[in-house]
Symmetry: C2
Subunit: 685 residues, 2 copies
């Protein structure tokens, strides 16, 4: 049992680590050599140039910051990150990023008042009992602050009931306000933007094949007849895999040409290269001439391939982007059913060009439903049975196995210290690798399902990841057991018992989750700002690969908000906060620190680092909302289970009202606000 | 335990009853005096006239059929009912009626092959065991034909497994074909009809209030701006309760006037009436003059009220019917979102005029969601706790209570034979009354929910009624216990145990359900064709109230298919058939007889009797489909529960695949066909 002292030590350790990371970051970011790691966004915007090209400064100053005064203000980036107003931030980084930050702000809005109230009401109420002492059970001070310290059948539980109501209403109130604001921001964003082509364009899929007409003619006739006066033009989708390869190859050649021309300019001596594999074998030729001729050759191939694709009916996919004269016409086409057969001529708003996921545009309708079934079943098995293959890998990957496969390693492995290290480390390795790969695996699953835009892929993957985290991290830590064992338990327990069993275990796991918040939340966020991976990769590439200015551009990896990876993890904190708000309020401050720190860090990253790959106009907000509501309902059910063992008979009916009201609230919000995220209204302004 | 002999006796008894009813019907329908009871549809169509007005026949022949040859062909109505081709029937009775008949045909299509297969494969397989005899348990011959007769762990269960697959695939195949046909029929029906106003009209609700403009101006401006070129005109909805009262009163007066004028014509003496209460008190006046002046007076009042309503902004409701120049314009307006606020300017296809449920047109959005919550909770309590108030009424309605309230009845009640009758009858009475009133209660609940068309009200009520039947009749008979006790059981049992407990009880209840099918199905249908209630009511009215030809028209009550009452009951037979197909195939022939008989009877009623109140274009089919799918999944889960106790380990995973596939099939059908029932496509033909 962890005592408050243990927690304090853990907190101190994590705070020190986090602060160390932040200090390291403050130091590294001031070095000009790291400029492209920590400020790539500004380079992409064109407002910053490489210090290398500045030229006039001292050579050392190009790499290291010698201005001591700037070190003194090492935390200055924090207020700087907070300064930029929302409107400017939308201009700078897009609406998606701004609304992503709102998730953290929503966390603060929900949990600051809840924390204050819980500490004002529940903590004194829990503390002023001596149930745990009188029972002489092993307990820590944290348990004294939790609901466990209230005696069986005490009337004090009424305070917890009331608080559950207050917390629910407050959460719902904040959620509604936020939904309202986000919806308004989205609509304003869509309306205020310049005439974006995707606002006039509809994606048509499953165009039926016609023996007499090409896809292009078919589309034109169909829309001329059915949307006369609104139809403007259309663009058929081609399968251009080969062409894309040629374009890529030409780009590489161009880069080599640039490199040699630069070399030539500096050395005034025509460089040579070898024609063979990677320029290493074969006969020497004049490099500039060689690459010039290569580029010309590929250019011709490209033109030929282009012609071929345009002619070949097989490379035309049964999908097209149809543009309309007015937003109105596009809105009409996107929202209505075109023919009596609802599986052909499927229309929807076109995703913006960057957002399109091209591979999935031509999947036929029946195939789509079959794919969905397959992924549904596969995800179920992944979620509940993932431990089986991992256990299998673990039995393979033992010391003897390695020694057999790679016998020359034997003397090395048999060293006692290394042996014990491997024995302690290896079993967890397969699991660790799996967990790191998991979001990517889930993304592959979503891609297989056949969604047509990056943003919808991310949203779908986030849902899957959240479900996985809920069962395997949240419930897995409470019930202690793999999801497979849990599944067995759930199937064999009554609907009544499940929340009770989990609910009763909740107060006991508070210290575990506090540690989790500190390690995964605090330190994780501090690591994010450091961008260790991008830092190492950039310097490695810069050292070994970068030849031209363009290479340097490409070595710079601004990254972007990985919604499908990070949003479900935030939701885990919402879940923990809401579940423990009534049970063990001590957890709340830790979550508050996480939200505050993450808000500042991600704001800084969005301003200075990330470069969003697409702009969906905050279409992910309904999912965020839904998951917070889910967390709220889970917290209510678990509290219900917990209180049903505490001897307060009135508790069960009183608490049963809450999930019903919450579900109703969700339905109301869904009707009221969700359409703004799915459709565009017709009204003219 | 019922033996096959018992069942045979029961069947014989029910067959005799049903045949007696059919004979009685065959006799009664031939009497001209009952013409308006058994052929009202033709009167409403105007192709038949009252025998009373025919005049030339003998007086007796006006009332009794003396043509003996017609009695010999007493079953001739059956082939006659089957003769009319579908297209003509659609012309005659509307698409709703024809598709309603398709439900019975679907039943036959599903169950005829299943019955044959079950009797060819499963019955011999079950019969050729002697488990029950060797176990020496009390059993009947029916149990020998059921799955109970197969020994624990036998490989013969594989046949049942395979049959479960075959039955599922066959059912799904039939369902898909039917969905396809019905969708096509609906689209053809909509397209082939004359230009119906509702195909050009959209119902707009929740029009926001504007201080500067009236609702009418607002609607006009809004649609002129947002649907230019398509908008034609609109009709605001007025609250005209008072006006409707006046119109009703005028109609009555007109009827009286007609009556006295007829009297005057026949007797050539001006009739008089009294001005007071119901023409019984007050001074004598000339009746014709009196009613003429009264009609004139009311006519003036009407005109005044009409003017007042048109002027008074309070009587204008925030709803309007907006007509468009083309079906295309209406389709666009109905399917798109109008403004950025999705709770105002809600558009949907206007129900056809007869179908509108006027009372609900002006309920604001928030109120709608609150109402839905209230009804959801209320229905939950009705479904699971309805026994409580009934038990309460039963404790009140005992003999002592009656004696106290109505002391003069005491000597009568105290007669031993009457006392025992009342004591046996009274406790069940409250329940019986409740069950008879239930569909009406559910209809009230749906009305409160705020749906705007009769057809959607019927559909919603049917869903509620099916849920009630499922829990209280189907599960209630199997688990034996009120739904409240069941709820308790379900909450305290694991998800694994529930299908097992119910599944194991299923073979034992086969005889009960066979009896149920005979009593409720066979005899019930025979009673329906007899139209006992309409028969009695018509003759009573004809004798006491009918004064004019118009009164006679009104005394005639053709009735209509009560979808919300009858469809869920049919679904109960689907459920029974699918559940028992594998377990006790003996039940299947009884269900087949029901479907066949009901098909003929309802076809006859639809041709000769019913007068549909509205035409929804078979919009109820998706619900029918959904409920058969539900029945299929329930049957699979219960079979899973049953087989899990039979010692065949492979059964559980093999059967678990079925519900997953069925749910997927349902999703596929929903995507593929349902849109045809909700929206109208845009494509021009």
């Amino acid at each position: 049992m962890a005592t408050i002292h243990d927690i304090a030590v853990g907190a101190a350790f994590n705070i020190v680590t986090a602060v160390a990371f932040l200090l390291l970051f403050a130091f590294l970011r001031l070095q000009p050599v790291n400029d492209r790691v920590y400020f790539p966004k500004w380079y992409l915007k064109g407002t910053r140039a490489s210090p290398a090209s500045a030229g006039a400064t001292v050579a050392a100053a190009k790499y290291i910051n010698l201005d001591i005064s700037s070190y003194l203000k090492f935390l200055s980036w924090m207020p700087a990150a907070l300064k930029m107003p929302d409107d400017e931030l939308i201009q700078h980084a897009g609406l998606d990023s701004v609304i992503y930050l709102r998730i953290y702000r929503t966390g603060l809005k929900i949990f600051v008042p809840i924390t204050i109230l819980a500490f004002a009401v529940l903590v004194p109420l829990n503390w002023t009992n001596d149930t745990l002492e009188s029972l002489k059970v092993v307990h820590s001070d944290i348990d004294k602050l939790s609901i466990s310290n209230i005696p069986y059948g005490s009337k004090r539980f009424i305070a917890h009931l009331v608080m559950a109501y207050v917390f629910t209403f407050w959460t719902c109130y904040v959620l509604m306000k936020e939904y309202q604001i986000v919806a308004k921001m989205r609509l304003r964003f869509l309306a205020s933007e310049k005439r974006r082509p995707d606002q006039f364009t509809v994606l048509v899929r499953n165009i039926p094949s016609d023996p007499d007409e090409s896809v292009s003619e078919l589309v034109e006739h169909f829309f001329l007849v059915n949307h006369p006066g609104h139809y403007l033009k259309h663009q058929v989708v081609y399968n251009t895999n080969k062409l894309a390869g040629l374009v890529e190859k030409k780009k590489q050649m161009q880069n080599w040409l640039d490199y040699y021309q630069l070399k030539f300019e500096r050395k005034a001596e025509r460089p040579t290269t070898k024609t063979g594999f990677f320029g290493c074998f074969g006969s020497d030729v004049d490099a500039i001439d060689y690459y010039k001729s290569e580029i010309e050759k590929i250019g011709k191939e490209e033109a030929e391939e282009h012609k071929k694709v345009m002619k070949d009916p097989k490379s035309i996919m049964p999908a097209a982007f149809v543009s309309f004269r007015s937003r109105w016409g596009a809105a009409v086409a996107a929202q209505t059913q075109q023919t009596s057969n609802p599986t052909v001529w499927l229309t929807e708003w076109a995703p913006e060009p960057r957002d399109v996921y091209w591979n999935n545009l031509s999947i036929p309708f029946v195939s789509l439903t079959v794919r969905r079934l397959i992924i549904g079943v596969a995800f179920f098995f992944l979620n509940f049975f993932y431990v089986i293959p991992i256990a299998f890998v673990q039995t393979l990957a033992n010391l003897e196995g390695i020694e057999k496969a790679l016998p020359f390693l034997e003397p090395f492995i048999e060293t006692p210290s290394i042996k014990s290290f491997i024995q302690g480390f290896l079993p967890g390795l397969a699991l660790k690798i799996f967990l790191i790969l998991l979001p990517t695996i889930l993304m592959f699953m979503s891609q297989f399902e056949g969604l047509v835009s990056q943003s919808s892929l991310e949203r779908r993957t986030a849902s899957k990841y959240f479900i996985f985290l809920f069962f395997n991290v949240f419930l897995g830590s409470i019930v202690t057991g793999s999801a497979l064992e849990q599944l067995n338990t759930y199937l064999h327990q009554s609907a009544n018992d499940i929340p009770r069993v989990i609910g009763v275990a909740i107060p006991m796991k508070a210290t575990f989750f506090i540690t989790y918040v500190m390690v995964d939340g605090w330190t994780g966020v501090a690591l994010e700002v450091l961008r260790l991976r991008a830092f190492i990769m950039f310097h490695l590439k810069n050292f070994f690969l970068v030849k031209t200015e363009k290479d340097r551009e490409e070595a710079m990896d601004p990254g972007s908000i990985c919604l499908y990876w990070s949003e479900p993890r935030i939701q885990l904190y919402f879940l923990l906060g809401l579940v423990y708000a009534v049970v063990t309020p001590l957890l709340l401050p830790f979550i508050l620190v996480f939200f505050a720190l993450a808000y500042v860090v991600y704001r800084h990253q969005i301003i200075n680092v990330y470069n969003q790959r697409y702009e969906s106009g905050a279409q992910f907000w309904p999912n965020v909302h839904l998951r917070i509501i889910t967390a709220l309902i889970v917290s209510q059910l678990l509290l219900l289970g917990l209180l049903s063992t505490k001897g307060l008979e009135e508790a069960t009916p009183a608490l049963l009202v809450l999930p019903v009201l919450t579900i109703w609230f969700h339905k109301y919000c869904k009707h009221r606000y969700e359409p703004a995220f799915v459709r565009n209204p017709l009204q003219r302004r």
